[in-house]
């Protein structure tokens, strides 16, 4: 016995069954190298790779019969003996195997002589076949049948594929439609959140329903306040417009699909309207062949209905109905939102009115307080001036004609005496009082300086009051916007303010556009800001007070940005908000009205601009003013002003 496995003959056994293979392996392992393949295709591959000395072929194979496998192996490896191991007990099984190209046939069950039989075939034994031609022909017929069968199967597969393809196409079309429906529903959903105006939303919805689904008409009805009518609120195309113009409405009753859908809260569908004699025929929509009415339900209460109409029969499939109903639900939500918004708006308006009244009351109170305060010194000053004038007149009346240069002056003095007497002013008595006074007191009373000062007090108080008036009503005055060079305007303003030379440093970027503003009001703005900055610097006794004005185009070129910066003490965080409030002032005695920044902000806001402050303690304060650039305004828009 040869024990070197490399020298043992190789036998390839092709069998599907694990049991068969393990049995053959055990029976042949001593004298052969057993190669195994679990199916004929693997077997064919393995055979061509290993070129075994003998091939054993199980008769019960997948994919092909053992005969076929034998034929193909024979063709591939003509010199290799092929033996069929078969459990096939039908007559002719052996012959068929031999006809297919096998040299031998070992019937199952295999036993102790198996090794012996294999060795014999390996040594060249070949079973004889009588009537070989007959079996061959039979085998060829079998093969032909098989090919035919396979052809049929292939044809069937092709047919089936065609069917599947068309199914897929249908599915695809359906998916596409569903996709579109979803997309449309999503669009409606999006609109629901983005369009707050209900009428616009409804109009968009009917347009989408018709254009995306190819329905020829869609309309949306909402229930009237008395809940008796379904009133058309949106309608597609010309028919829709005509119906809207005619204030089209339907009674909420069983007679119309709209009415029924509202009453039953169920979709009403007529796939062929001709078959519904009780259907209400709409004269505006004579071509309707199928129709659907979907209720709009909010919190389980009907608020209206959507009608969708087609000029084709059976225009609605399940899918359409489902997604249109989903869309109707979206619209219902939108209607609810719009109603809530309306409620909110009226509540808001109420609140705003209250707030406005409060603000007006406060502002009025403040204004009266300030005007009263500012007016306080006027009566005192006027009283003193009156006294002073009496004393001076008393003195003037004492001047003798002879001391005057000419007759007209003498006449004037005479007039003083006469008019004083006429108005009940006893100059003699005043003079007597004066004579009785101590000299220093008398001197104080006839001081021209004091007289002038009192006139100044009265004048300045009156001016402050006028400033308050200007601050209060200035921003409300009619605006007349024109293209304005802020550069020239601010330079002029600074010059007129008479600040020390070099106190204001201005830089302007080349691309700064003209502003489109009311020149007078905006000049006030910068006048105020620069004046404020200068006062802050003066009050803080800054050694080298400086104001930097800078102008440039603001980002997107629709605005001009001007900043006014000072090197003063800055504005503390806790009052940065308060500075914009009317009548808030830190200026104490320096005569500020406390309306400056409030009026400034109002003016800037009314121009559609913005003003803000940036300030860190000790780092100065910078006011930024953004105003519309000139090119924002087209001639058209000027009409509204």
């Amino acid at each position: 016995m040869n024990s070197d496995p490399r020298k043992l003959p190789q036998v390839l056994y092709i069998a599907d069954s694990d049991e068969s293979r393990s049995l053959v392996r055990r029976l042949l392992a001593y004298r052969f190298v057993v190669l195994e393949a679990a199916n004929p295709l693997d077997g064919l591959g393995l055979a061509s790779e290993t070129m075994p000395n003998l091939i054993l072929l199980d008769n019960n194979l997948s994919h092909m019969t053992s005969s076929e496998a034998a034929t193909r192996l024979r063709k591939m490896l003509p010199g290799t003996p092929i033996v069929v191991v078969s459990g096939d007990t039908k007559p002719g099984a052996r012959e068929r195997a031999l006809a297919a190209g096998a040299v031998g046939f070992i019937p199952k069950p295999i036993g102790g002589d198996f090794e012996e039989l294999v060795t014999e075939y390996l040594r060249g034994k070949a079973d004889g076949l009588e009537n070989a031609e007959e079996y061959l022909r039979e085998y060829q017929l079998e093969l032909a049948e098989k090919i035919e069968d396979q052809t049929r199967q292939l044809t069937n597969t092709v047919e089936r594929n065609k069917y599947l393809l068309s199914q897929n196409q249908k599915m695809f079309a359906m998916l596409e439609r569903r996709h579109k429906l979803l997309e449309t529903a999503a669009r409606v959903g999006q609109m629901v959140t983005s369009i707050l105006d209900l009428n616009e939303l409804l109009r968009h919805t009917v347009n989408i329903i018709c254009s995306e689904f190819n329905f020829y008409y869609s309309g949306i009805f909402l229930i009237s306040d008395d809940r008796k009518w379904a009133v058309l609120r949106a309608g597609y195309a010309l028919a829709g417009r005509k119906m809207l113009d005619a204030n089209y409405k339907l009674p909420i009753d069983e007679k119309s699909m709209i009415g029924r859908s509202i009453l039953t809260q169920q979709a009403q569908i007529a796939l062929d309207v001709a078959g519904e004699p009780s259907r209400f025929k709409n004269p505006y929509l004579p071509d309707t062949r199928s129709e659907m009415a979907l209720p709009l339900i909010v919190n389980s209460i009907s608020v209206g209905a959507v009608t969708v109409q087609s000029n084709e029969l059976n225009a609605f499939n399940e899918e359409d109905i489902t997604s249109l109903q989903a869309m109707a639900d979206q619209i219902a939500i939108a209607i609810n939102n719009a109603n809530l918004m309306k409620d909110l708006e009226s509540a808001n308006a109420e609140l705003l009115r209250t707030k406005t009244y409060e603000a007006i009351a406060t502002a009025t109170g403040e204004a009266i307080h300030w005007v009263g305060n500012k007016a306080a010194p006027i009566p005192g000053s006027v009283r003193r001036v009156r006294e002073d004038v009496q004393y001076l007149l008393a003195l003037a009346a004492q001047v003798k004609d002879s001391e005057l240069d000419n007759a007209s002056l003498a006449a004037a003095v005479q007039t003083v005496r006469e008019e004083a007497q006429a108005s009940g002013l006893d100059l003699e008595k005043v003079l007597a009082e004066m004579s009785a006074m101590k000299p220093n007191r008398l001197q104080a009373l006839v001081s021209v300086e004091s007289l002038m000062e009192d006139l100044d007090i009265a004048e300045n108080s009156a001016k402050t009051i006028l400033d308050i008036k200007e601050g209060l009503i200035g921003p409300a005055r009619q605006r007349s916007d024109t293209p304005v060079s802020l550069r020239e305007m601010i330079a002029g303003t600074v010059e007129n303010m008479g600040l020390p030379h070099g106190a204001v440093e201005m830089t302007w970027s080349e691309d700064m556009p003209l502003a489109h503003v009311d020149a007078r009001q905006v000049e006030q703005v910068f006048n105020n800001l620069i004046k404020n900055a200068w006062e802050a610097l003066t009050n803080a006794k800054i050694a080298e007070p400086k104001i930097f004005v800078q102008g440039q185009q603001d980002g997107d070129s629709n605005f001009v940005l001007v900043s006014v910066k000072d090197n003063g003490p800055g504005i503390p965080k806790d009052i940065q908000e308060k500075i914009w409030v009317s009548f808030f002032t830190t200026k104490g005695g320096s005569g500020g009205t406390g309306l400056g920044l409030s009026a400034v902000m109002q003016i800037v806001n009314q121009h559609g601009g913005k003003i803000w402050l940036e300030s860190e303690a000790g780092q100065g304060a910078t006011f930024f003013v953004r105003l519309p650039a000139e090119k924002l305004y087209l001639p058209d828009e000027n009409k509204s002003r």
């Binding site: 305060n373 010194p377 009283r383 009373l445 007090i457 300045n460 402050t464 005695g589």
Partner: protein, 127 residues
């Protein structure tokens, strides 16, 4: 000679009142806020006979404050408990002024008719 300490941050009001008081024959010391007012009083503690204080003006820290006059009132009262003090007020703040009186002010005066202040001071100091 009677000396009046007048503290008010409104320049025009202060000057006008000062002139009225001067004409009425008083010596007048002025200050624009609590801090300076307190200092001026301390420097002239022996001569000041009566203080006239505005209600709303910069406080001891120089920052404008409602009712800062009450702070100065307390300060002056601490320095001299029997100092007569008149609180100046706008017409619409009379309640606050009355409050000031309950806190130790001798009287309040509503800004406007300045001669009235002279009469009030005469009345306070005469009694």
């Amino acid at each position: 000679m009677t000396t009046v300490l007048l503290v008010d941050d409104e320049k025009l009001i202060q000057r006008s009142l000062e002139k009225t008081l001067l004409r009425a024959g008083y010596d007048v010391l002025t200050a624009p806020d609590c801090k300076v007012g307190s200092e001026v009083f301390s420097q002239n503690a022996k001569t000041v006979d009566i203080a006239v204080l505005d209600l709303n003006m910069p406080g001891f820290d120089g920052v404008p404050k409602n009712d800062a006059g009450l702070d100065l009132l307390a300060d002056l009262k601490q320095k001299r408990a029997n100092l007569p003090v008149v609180i100046l007020t706008a017409y619409d703040e009379v309640n606050k002024a009355k409050d000031a009186v309950s806190k130790g002010a001798t009287a309040f005066f509503v800004k406007g008719r300045e001669q009235g202040l002279v009469e009030l001071i005469q009345k306070i100091l005469g009694s």
